[in-house]
């Protein structure tokens, strides 16, 4: 018996001309380069999840991960196929989404809890521990519109984490709140897992998938293309990234642009193109560009994005290297001796600017950072260790003890 079964599930989205798509939605359509009235977010996807198992689903943006999550949580229905769910599901698609700003923290716990399917008596029993876990005990009777964003998010997670669900759906929620709270979230999730809760985890964050999941699926353009251990799937994912390692332009080529980024490539230590980098190892990236009208005060920047599209770092040339670009083509190298990014999936982009005006911007070249030099925390900082002094102290007791053992 499985907790969750997908039998040849497909989901088609229809896009009507005016009212239908939101900007994010049409953006996603753009990914497929199709502007027709419909597209298949997932096609013929089948998989099962055993009770107590933690399944990770990874894939690029628009691969269909979120659609799978929405189908499992029954927010939307499949176009074809069948989904069987055994047990109670708690979906954490966006923490605190069910909150009403006018209501107090306590009232929102009732509201949000019952939206997630909790009974009132059950909420009564857990109210204190939820407020305690979220650290808002003293603000229980304050309207949540007066809460800080941190409190808001913590309360949202606390409710879901106390839901006693059989199946927990997680979507990048590990990336909320401050570091301390994140730690507690992860602890709580591991605790739930140890208690036998089935987990479906959808993420770009390969490190979390590897840590949390027993098995993993790889989605690409709505199809399930690989299934295996997280380590196997992550390496497949990186292979996929290599195929996709072409510059994806966000806008159509504008002939009036005085300059254009023509290529952006990462090189490995031996100088061949790669999409697999290692934490703490040297990295080189080459930006190639064409200049059709001279630029006098040019700056070239390289940006790194983590999952959720937030910029982790952006480096630009102005200060280090003032650029005067005559008409022609050129290339510039970006390099660092020790990559600071921890293992995970990232995207990089680069842009050319003239007097702080952006001329051309390309995003996103996907790449994976694999474990290299050991790092715990948010980034690897280039460092060296040097031993300053060491004096050996040997106690007499120890000497005697060791002496006694000898026959």
């Amino acid at each position: 018996m499985y907790d969750l079964e997908f039998h040849s599930v497909s989901k088609r989205y229809r896009v009507s001309g005016q009212s239908g798509p939101s900007s994010g939605f049409s953006g996603r359509l753009g990914w497929f380069g199709r502007r027709s009235g419909e597209f298949w977010a997932i096609r013929d996807v089948s998989f099962t999840v055993r009770p107590g198992e933690a399944l990770g689903i990874i894939g690029h943006n628009g691969a269909g991960k979120s659609t799978v999550l929405k189908l499992v949580s029954n927010i939307t229905s499949p176009t074809k196929g069948e989904i069987r769910i055994c047990g109670r599901i708690a979906a954490l698609l966006e923490v605190g989404s069910g909150f009403h700003p006018e209501l107090t923290g306590r009232e929102n716990v009732y509201l949000s809890g019952s939206i997630l399917g909790m009974r009132r008596t059950e909420i009564n029993n857990k109210l204190d521990s939820i407020l305690e876990f979220a650290g808002v005990y003293n603000f229980a009777d304050v309207p949540v519109k007066r809460y800080s964003s941190g409190m808001y998010v913590r309360l949202g997670f606390a409710i879901a984490a106390h839901l006693d669900a059989d199946i927990l759906l997680l979507d990048e929620v590990l990336a909320v709140g401050d570091a301390k709270f994140q730690g507690r979230c992860q602890e709580r999730i591991l605790e739930l897992k140890a208690n036998g809760t089935t987990i479906v985890f959808i993420s770009h964050d390969l490190a979390s998938v590897r840590r949390l999941c027993d098995r993993s699926l790889l989605l690409n353009h709505g199809c399930l293309i690989f299934e295996g251990t997280p380590a196997e799937v992550i390496s497949q994912y990186a292979l996929l990234g290599r195929e996709r390692n072409r510059v994806e332009e966000t806008e159509l080529l504008n002939p009036q642009k005085p300059a254009r980024v023509s290529a952006f490539t990462f090189l490995n230590e031996s100088g061949s193109p790669t999409t697999e980098l290692r934490t703490g190892f040297p990295v080189r990236a080459i930006v190639e560009y064409e200049v059709t009208g001279p630029i006098h005060n040019a700056a070239i920047s390289v940006l790194f994005y983590a999952s959720g599209d937030w910029t982790v770092a952006s480096h630009f040339t102005t200060i280090d290297l003032p650029l005067h670009l005559p008409i022609g083509t050129g290339a510039i190298e970006f390099s660092t001796d020790e990559l600071a990014l921890p293992p995970g999936a990232y995207a990089a982009g680069c842009s050319i600017e003239d007097d702080w005006q952006q001329i051309d911007f390309v995003s996103k070249t996907y790449f994976a950072v694999m474990p290299g030099r050991p790092v715990r925390g948010r980034f690897h900082s280039p460092h060296t260790w040097r031993e300053l002094r060491y004096t050996e102290t040997v106690s007499h007791k120890q000497l005697h003890a060791e002496g006694d053992e000898e026959p």
């Binding site: 949580s73 939307t76 069987r84 769910i85 055994c86 989404s97 209501l103 019952s114």
Partner: protein
């Protein structure tokens, strides 16, 4: 009580089909989510009155002000027949069920669109949203009923045992409001025009219902068509049992009741079919 104590429910999600079985499944699901229905309804009532200065008085104010206006127009300016009872009581007794209906329909029509962030992020039976607005409107109706009692005392109109018949009459009004609420709210997700057309529609509808005039002046040959509007039967009978102490007039209620009983399951089915892709188009 933990999840393991409860028997694990197996849920099967398939593409939406327009089958009567969906009603059974839907109602079962709704019962499972009864606590949410309760919490959301209380929340609805709470929020409505929490941030307004007059608070609960708003429930009373709307029918009361309309009563004053209509009394001035139809009893001082124009002489409208009003079947014995003073016009103020005559019109208020009709405004009471009518306001319930119009509030329920107007507020619930936008219920899904107003909660789009919820709909795209969590699952719960979506009909709970329009249903809570209908329930909140019913709460308003109960509050506003107190004024009717006060008016009856003021004008020395006594109540008879027939007044108890308001319960089945209001049940019809409730079921019909629910059917319209389900239809319009699901419609609104696809066609936003409903919101704009709403006030006009309700205004016209009020004149197709014996609110400001008595049912008795409706010409005989129109009676059948007229009584297809369930609200006509509701309002006329509400007045009969409260003011005139007469038994219900089934002739005017029955066609509407049949319409209502046919419409509700169809509306629910339409709603459940629309629900399947609601999160995609909202």
């Amino acid at each position: 009580m933990s999840a393991s104590d409860e028997r694990r429910r197996t849920k099967i999600i398939r593409p939406a089909t327009f089958s009567p079985l969906a009603i059974v499944r839907g109602v079962r699901d709704l019962i499972h989510y009864r606590d949410l229905l309760l919490t959301l309804t209380m929340h609805r009532i709470n929020v409505r009155y929490k941030q307004s200065a007059l608070g609960i008085a708003w429930a009373v104010l709307q029918p009361l002000l309309l009563m004053i206006v209509y009394t001035i127009i139809f009893s001082v300016v124009v002489k409208m027949p009003h079947e014995g009872a003073p016009y103020a009581v005559f019109v208020y007794a009709a405004l009471l069920p009518w306001t319930f209906f119009s509030t329920a329909v107007a507020t619930s029509a936008t219920s899904l669109v107003a909660h789009n962030s919820l709909i795209t992020k969590v699952y719960f039976p979506r009909e709970i949203l329009p249903l809570t607005y209908v329930l909140a409107a019913f709460f308003d109706f109960l509050i506003a009923s107190v004024i009717l009692l006060a008016l009856l005392c003021f004008y020395h109109v006594s109540l008879a045992a027939s007044a108890l018949l308001v319960c089945p009459i209001m049940l019809v009004a409730f079921l019909f409001s629910l059917a319209i609420a389900l239809l319009l709210s699901a419609f609104q997700v696809r066609f936003r025009d409903i919101g704009i057309a709403m006030s006009l529609l309700l205004q016209l509808w009020m004149y197709a219902t014996p609110v400001v005039y008595p049912y008795s002046i409706v010409p005989e040959r129109f009676v059948f068509w007229y009584s297809l509007n369930p609200m006509a039967g509701v309002v006329e009978n509400f007045r009969r049992v409260i003011l005139r102490h007469e038994p219900m007039n089934m002739g005017v209620l029955l066609p509407g009741l049949i319409v209502c009983l046919l419409l509700l399951p169809l509306a629910y089915l339409y709603f459940k079919t629309a629900e399947a892709t609601m999160a995609d188009v909202i």
